[in-house]
Chain length 209, copies 4
Amino acid sequence: MNYADFPTKGERTRAHIVATAAEMFWQRSFNGVSVDEIANAASVNKATIYRYFADKGDLALAATRHQGILTLEQIFEASFAAHKAPDQRLIAIYTKAYRGNIEMKQERGDLLGCPVLGLVLELGFEMPEIRREAGHIFDRVQSYFTGIARDAIAAGRTDGAPDKIGRALMQLHHGACASSRIAAEPEYILDAGRTSLQLIGYPEAALAI
Amino acid sequence: MNYADFPTKGERTRAHIVATAAEMFWQRSFNGVSVDEIANAASVNKATIYRYFADKGDLALAATRHQGILTLEQIFEASFAAHKAPDQRLIAIYTKAYRGNIEMKQERGDLLGCPVLGLVLELGFEMPEIRREAGHIFDRVQSYFTGIARDAIAAGRTDGAPDKIGRALMQLHHGACASSRIAAEPEYILDAGRTSLQLIGYPEAALAI
Amino acid sequence: MNYADFPTKGERTRAHIVATAAEMFWQRSFNGVSVDEIANAASVNKATIYRYFADKGDLALAATRHQGILTLEQIFEASFAAHKAPDQRLIAIYTKAYRGNIEMKQERGDLLGCPVLGLVLELGFEMPEIRREAGHIFDRVQSYFTGIARDAIAAGRTDGAPDKIGRALMQLHHGACASSRIAAEPEYILDAGRTSLQLIGYPEAALAI
Amino acid sequence: MNYADFPTKGERTRAHIVATAAEMFWQRSFNGVSVDEIANAASVNKATIYRYFADKGDLALAATRHQGILTLEQIFEASFAAHKAPDQRLIAIYTKAYRGNIEMKQERGDLLGCPVLGLVLELGFEMPEIRREAGHIFDRVQSYFTGIARDAIAAGRTDGAPDKIGRALMQLHHGACASSRIAAEPEYILDAGRTSLQLIGYPEAALAI
DNA sequence: GATGAATGAGACTTCATTCAT
DNA sequence: GATGAATGAAGTCTCATTCAT
């Protein structure tokens, strides 16, 4: 997080709380983390949290949004900015995801997968706003994948409906996150990357470590 | 659940508790459901639950196992018993999953997705036994998919490593469960089914409603 | 409280909590007493309170009812049972009230007045059920006073509408409770008793200490 | 409130806070209103409140005083200034009270009764200064009633000790406030007015709407 | 052996109050 | 000097679990 983005003290405090909470929810689920723990981890008083968020659910919503923005920026936007070719973009996406997870595994011995998926599966029915937010995030993820699909079609590598391919790529991505977290196995991410390359007609493209 | 499988009264009580809890965890997550609520829903005394289970986590483990067995039997074993050809088996799997979710959506307005995925994402790090159990379940799921892949290879429809294809099919399945739950959209399941058929080299096979 | 009236253990616990809470609310108001304090004073766990009452307001409602029943029984019913003549009944009512307050003042240095009035003034708008309950209690109080008025009219001591006189007697009673509590002065109760006797046409009747 | 009475900005701010808080305490009790809510309602910063008042209790004391002054001026002084005869004065007092409550009931659907009684019943034991303040206010109220009694005696309408009659009138007034608030019934005020007229020997005097 | 009753710990939230700019 | 920001304490309520009959 770039703290320069939050000029006032309050905005910085708020952003710090969100980032802390997001990290904890990611690791230990919404209900598995108490507001007390978040306050301690963020080194703020519990009442300060309630100054910025109506309730714990509101904080979870902000955390979801935060994780969505972060993922979209650091994985998808970055990959699109750095590359033009569809296979290169896909490779960049999966390489980044893989590296992030490798790092995590080294740092904490575990690998957390998608920071949004767990929250929305846990809270989707109880908190429709979180579900809606996750829906938006995943819509944007799918858009990126659809763009890749479209370019692959334009390059004559595959055919079919770009949005259907985009959805398939997103589903594979979801599955990769989930299965790699469950098995604590980063390689599963690369597997999904390879399947994705095949789906857009670049079976020969290689995923660099 | 076939109650005839549990001859003694105690076994029936236990099975009834597990089934009730499994349903509730599926819908509202582990931490979102209290032991009180489970006892009420199952119409048993709370202390009775603690007669059969060491603690709430133990109950969650049993629920995970229960859901795993159910899914493996009703979706995968049934599909394999009914069909021989790989595409037919895949079609059966996805058709069953789709129909189950359609039913759910009609009955409760929502669609719950995979009954194991949410639990293990929520509790995986805190309760290693659940993670292990989910690992076993998903290993068996992957085995079924790997078998389908192997048969498709034998039929000359695709090539590659069967286990890698099996993993891809499982990841797609995970992604289908997750994305359809988030969007409350059963069609996403069929989309994943079609992608799966394509992956094993049966792009022309049709998913009956 | 006669504990024999509550056969089961749970009923006794519940009654004990109500009696304890009623006493505390009377002295220090609803919001001035915490559930923790009530639990401590009643020597039960806080969770036990919530086993018997949906929330603190529900406990206040039970306390209101409890105080109403107690007052009606010990002051009004008892006075009516012991005497037939309207002046004697009025004298009995005010004598009991006076003695109770004298006792209180000796025991705690203060005098609490009406156990229902404070609660309903504090919570009437937020908790309509308490207001309704207090309404019922005071309706019954007014009925007793109206009965006295009717008998005084029958005895040729006064005329007018019995219910209007009944209401006047009740209002005087309310005022007596309030003013004696504020001034910590039990004599104000006797003053109201004398005014009441005058209002029903027995100006010469004397209030024994 | 006449803001012209408070020349400096600070005094106006202070007076505005007191008036706002008094209104809120009246409606929802001392403990039922938070300092935050008062600050919001008065459109001042919370810290500003603490610039003018040592603590919330101090604000309650000021609110009590404010309500006392207001009531004494607008009801009692005004009635005494407008009329000379004791029955006319009593009628004026009760008419004003009645009209004020009718207005309230139309405006908010409820009727708040005496603005001091609730506060002092709630806080009397915890905050002796408030009790003392209320004592002073009610002493002055009683003085007004005693004056009326004295004039009625002088007019040969009744006999007895003026201060005892004054106390009776005040107790009736308290009771009228309480019972009308509980029942949300302004007519109860008029009833007390009629009883009061009777007590000072003007049973035939009529209370204009 | 099954269940009503009880509990300690901790959940979320709000309170009155003060700090620091 | 006024206000946004912060806090410790305490509030109500619920949790998973166990006792005692």
